[in-house]
């Protein structure tokens, strides 16, 4: 058993958890959001907006199924429009959740404890939104099962050398593993909710999902082993998923797509946008549910640092694309870069440079990272920028490729926007329901944090993260 010194918690000015908490007080504070506190006006307003947009989504999808994808702006040469932009955007947002819960778990970053639960929920809803787009793009959505290898009377198989087929496996595995990881973490907290519920029906419901968890020492031992292993499995998985998304493009010969930097640069971009979404969710949530003691300035600050690092990697990706375009000496590659910066979609390119390269530079300043309103604004700007990045990659590359006679311009339609807004509604509706009915912070892990920085009863200075033996 190793012990890890708890340097940061004591030394830095902002703690991971505000002092003075006990096992009982953290339990009450987090479970009260679910069991005792009425959700409040902000939650209801948010839910109404979310459900409204979800209604728009239902209309957009119904019309799509009835009429076909001709209602979107896609055509030749731009056959991949908003649907693929949105797919990559959403799945990227999901990646920060897995990064926080798995990668930071393995790196023993215990500050992750109070943000991993809702970040994992964010992943689940973001992957749901993402997964819908390729299915909707099929045109005949009721034939979605053609994507899977199954014995069929046509005696055909998917073309397994195509990254698009890899994506089917990557995204479905990613969703499944994220769901298992999230649920595994929830089980002890569901048991707490069961034991704290006053209403019999509520106790029964949480009891069923808690699976009879009773906190036995032997159970915890296996639980930790399984949790750590799932973290170890999810960490490379998250890298593989967005690398494969990058290869969806890189395997094509289109200038602007056919580049080896795509897999790593997509992974960094994914985590970049995901941390922006974590901040977008955490900042209103800590205020609405009174969780400022657990999601502290320290978390906002650390997310800001990660935003800066991943932002710099993304900026490197942009410059590498420019450099390789020039260095290749290939006229199509060089034209593609000029066309991005000066062509009909130059506004998208410069928006992305402004949002993703220039804005994150403010995060070098500590005061900016610790200012909640500024961080919220920066997070929104980064999400806009990352959406623009995918727009530039998909649309600018396709609309002018090789033959000037085959060039064209893409105009999104009302239904393109409606579908995008609709998935935002799906995401927020799902997330708000999760925030009301399940503990948004892992209670059992926060208890460990209390034990580590122990409310005065023990000497601080030693931390025993349960998952490290």
């Amino acid at each position: 058993m190793t012990t890890v010194p708890l340097e940061q918690v004591e030394r830095e000015e902002h703690p991971v958890i505000e002092p003075g908490h006990t096992y009982a007080s953290v339990t009450e504070k987090i479970t009260d959001v679910v069991l005792r506190r009425p959700p409040g006006m902000a939650w209801w307003v948010g839910l109404m907006i979310g459900m409204g947009l979800l209604g728009l989504f239902a209309i957009a999808v119904t019309y799509l199924v009835v009429k076909g994808i001709g209602i979107w702006g896609v055509n030749i040469p731009v056959a991949w429009g908003f649907a693929i932009v949105n797919f990559v955007w959403w799945i990227g947002i999901g990646h920060a959740g897995t990064f926080i819960s798995a990668m930071l778990l393995l790196m023993r970053q215990h500050w992750r404890t109070s943000i991993n639960r809702f970040a994992e929920a964010m992943t689940l809803f973001a992957v749901m939104c993402a997964g819908l787009f390729p299915l909707l793009h099929l045109g005949r959505i009721w034939r979605f099962y053609y994507l899977f290898p199954y014995p069929n009377p046509m005696q055909l198989w998917p073309q397994f050398r195509s990254p698009l087929v890899w994506d089917v496996f990557a995204v479905s595995t990613y969703f499944t593993v994220s769901l298992l990881f999230w649920y595994l973490g929830l089980v002890p907290d569901l048991a707490t909710l069961r034991d704290r519920a006053r209403n019999r029906a509520v106790r029964m419901i949480y009891g069923i999902f808690a699976l009879g968890w009773r906190g036995s020492a032997r159970h915890w031992r296996r639980y930790q082993s399984a949790y750590l292993l799932l973290g170890g499995l999810a960490a490379p998985l998250v890298v593989s998923v967005h690398s494969i998304v990058g290869m969806d493009f890189a395997a094509a010969v289109v200038p602007g797509w056919h580049t080896t930097i795509f897999p790593p640069y997509f992974v960094a971009g994914a985590i970049f946008s995901g941390f922006a979404m974590v901040l977008t969710l955490a900042i209103p949530m800590r205020w609405a549910f009174g969780l400022q003691d657990f999601i502290t300035i320290r978390h906002i600050d650390n997310c800001g640092k990660l935003l800066l690092v991943t932002g710099l990697i993304v900026a490197y990706g942009y410059s590498a694309e420019l450099f390789m375009g020039w260095y290749s000496g290939d006229s199509y590659e060089m034209y593609m870069n000029l066309n991005r910066a000066l062509g009909p979609y130059r506004w998208a390119y410069w928006t992305l440079i402004l949002c993703n390269v220039i804005t994150p530079q403010f995060l070098w300043i500590r005061a900016v990272r610790q200012s909640i309103p500024l961080m919220f604004v920066i997070a929104l700007i980064v999400q806009l920028g990352m959406w623009m990045e995918r727009f530039v990659i998909v649309i600018t590359s396709l609309h002018r490729d090789f033959m000037p006679g085959a060039w064209g311009v893409y105009y999104p339609t009302f239904w393109d926007y409606a579908t995008l807004l609709g998935t935002i509604g799906l995401f927020f509706t799902g997330f708000l329901l999760f925030a009301k009915f399940l503990p948004v912070i892992s209670i059992s892990e926060v208890r460990e944090l209390v034990h580590a920085s122990d409310g005065g009863r023990h000497e601080p200075g030693e931390f025993h993260p349960s998952y490290v033996h």
Binding site: M1, T22, Y23, A24, T27, P149, L156, W157, P158, Q159, F160, R161, V165, W166, F169, A170, T173, T176, V177, L180, L184, P188, T192, R194, D195, R196, G207, I208, L211, G212, W213, R214, G215, S216, A217, R218, H219, W220, R221, R222, Y223, Q224, S225, A226, L229, L230, L233, P236, L237, S240, I244, S444, E445, R447, E448, H451, R457, H458, H464, H469
Partner: protein
């Protein structure tokens, strides 16, 4: 020992306030020779399971088996589909162009390893189990909140309702309670 009470008695539960106290008590229980004892805590306490008895978790092995099974399933499915059942020339690559099989092989390996970790953990723990005698004492609700329990089962060979109670009280718990079956 074989009094009628042991038939209705699951065991004796001692309640503690801190992880350090329960760990010290668990050491004493193990030293006294009790084998059928378990501790319950609201968060994992390092070393508690090991103190109560030699314990090796088989989950890593299960996960390895899951990973190997999933990866083999993935790889050979692709070989069967694109090499044996329906050979397909794509870009002049050889029929068994195995580097292209790697991503799906990896994904399925991770998927089955995760299934093994998740379902293996619950299966080895005997969960889901909605009823367990420890839930019969109302105070046990705090085991998922801020209290730590040690339960010595009446099925233990050394168990004696009076002597075990005295022994547990000697460990300075908050309280010792009978756990009915």
């Amino acid at each position: 020992m074989a009094s009628t009470r042991t038939h209705t008695l699951f065991g004796l539960a001692a309640e503690f306030e801190s992880p350090e106290a329960v760990l010290a008590a668990a050491r004493a229980v193990a030293r006294a020779g009790y084998r059928r004892a378990d501790a319950y805590s609201p968060f994992p306490v390092d070393g508690l399971a090991e103190v109560l008895g030699p314990h090796r978790t088989r989950i890593p092995l299960l996960v390895l088996i899951g990973a190997v099974f999933g990866a083999c399933t993935g790889f050979f499915m692709l070989v069967y589909a694109n090499v044996i059942s329906y050979p397909w020339n794509v870009g002049g690559k050889p029929p068994n162009s195995w580097p292209a099989w790697i991503p799906i092989t990896f994904e399925l390996g991770v998927l089955f390893a995760s299934f093994a970790a998740f379902f293996g953990m619950f299966a080895l723990n005997g969960l889901p189990m909605p009823y367990h005698p420890v839930f019969n004492i109302p105070e046990f609700a705090r085991a998922s909140r801020d209290r730590f329990f040690i339960v010595i089962e009446s099925a233990d060979r050394q168990f004696d309702p009076e002597q075990t109670r005295q022994f547990l009280e000697g460990l300075k718990p908050i309280a010792v309670r009978e756990v009915p079956r």
